[in-house]
């Protein structure tokens, strides 16, 4: 039998978390399958105590547009990873069916739908930003966007904001 020693204490690297590791995720896609990578990484980073910002641009607006955020679609067209013959993937109703299946799979893993996911990210202290040019192009104002979006900001603002951050373009 080993002699009991004092138990080790996990460090949890709190100093690292406080010491300024920062993550910026640029969300530029508006399909159901491409909305999730950013949301999942943001949530994971927040759970590790990392300052996290999401910047939504172009099609990424679908994720924060109140009208579309709950109804993102997945299309098998042009996606060889679905292993579906091209001629079949474009048939009427195929997108709806593929979207339904993917939603069910996501829910089956207890991963929340997009609006609820954003609520979770906000509750965990995440920051959401919308791109000025995209808003202008789509003629959207802050009122059209998810309430947790802090502001519509310019590309320059984002560059300033992301100083020193690890930045991912999705």
């Amino acid at each position: 039998m080993t002699t009991p020693t004092r138990a080790p204490v996990p460090s949890f690297d709190d100093d690292d978390a406080a010491g300024g590791r920062k993550l910026c995720l640029i969300c530029s896609k508006g399909s159901l399958d491409m909305a999730y990578p950013g949301l999942i990484l943001a949530n994971a980073a927040l759970g590790e105590g990392i300052e996290t910002h999401l910047f939504f641009t172009f099609w990424g607006f679908e994720i924060i547009n109140k009208k579309t955020m709950g109804n993102l679609q997945f299309s098998p067209v042009g996606n060889p990873a679905t292993h579906m013959p091209t001629a079949v993937s474009g048939l009427p109703g195929m997108q709806a069916m593929a979207t339904r299946m993917m939603r069910a799979q996501i829910a089956g893993l207890d991963v929340p739908p997009v609006p609820e996911f954003l609520d979770m990210i906000k509750a965990a202290g995440g920051h959401l930003w919308a791109c000025r040019m995209s808003a202008d192009m789509m003629k959207l104002t802050q009122d059209d966007l998810y309430d947790g979006v802090e502001a519509i900001i310019s590309a320059t603002d984002f560059i300033e904001l992301s100083a020193g951050a690890q930045t991912l373009f999705i």
Binding site: T5, A7, A44, G47, V111
Partner: protein
């Protein structure tokens, strides 16, 4: 897995210091584990820990932060206040269960 002393009694822990034997935990031990990581254990913490342990016992795995919120009914913002910065890891350490493995 080694035998170590926490709160004056021998318990089994892994190399990081997480308890490896579910039944070696009790609330007195939790207070000591919490102190180790700078948390002053309150009844509100204990409610979360009790859920974590009950869910672990029922499901065989540590609930993720989302599950603590959706199934346990605890507010996510509050969890970040109670177990600052890394709530999922810290609450599992104090509850004497493994770190959660789920992504969300």
């Amino acid at each position: 897995m080694t035998l170590a002393t926490i709160a004056g009694r021998p318990v089994h822990v892994n190399e990081e210091g997480f308890l490896t034997e579910f039944d070696e935990w009790d609330e007195a031990l939790a207070a000591e584990l919490a102190t180790n990581i700078g948390i002053d254990l309150t009844d509100e913490h204990l409610q979360v820990l009790r859920f974590l342990r009950a869910d672990y016992r029922a499901q065989g795995e540590t609930p993720t932060l989302r599950r603590v919120s959706t199934v346990g009914g605890f507010d996510t913002k509050r969890l970040f206040v109670l177990f600052p910065k890394k709530p999922a890891k810290k609450m599992s350490y104090v509850a004497g269960v493994p770190k959660p493995v789920g992504c969300v």
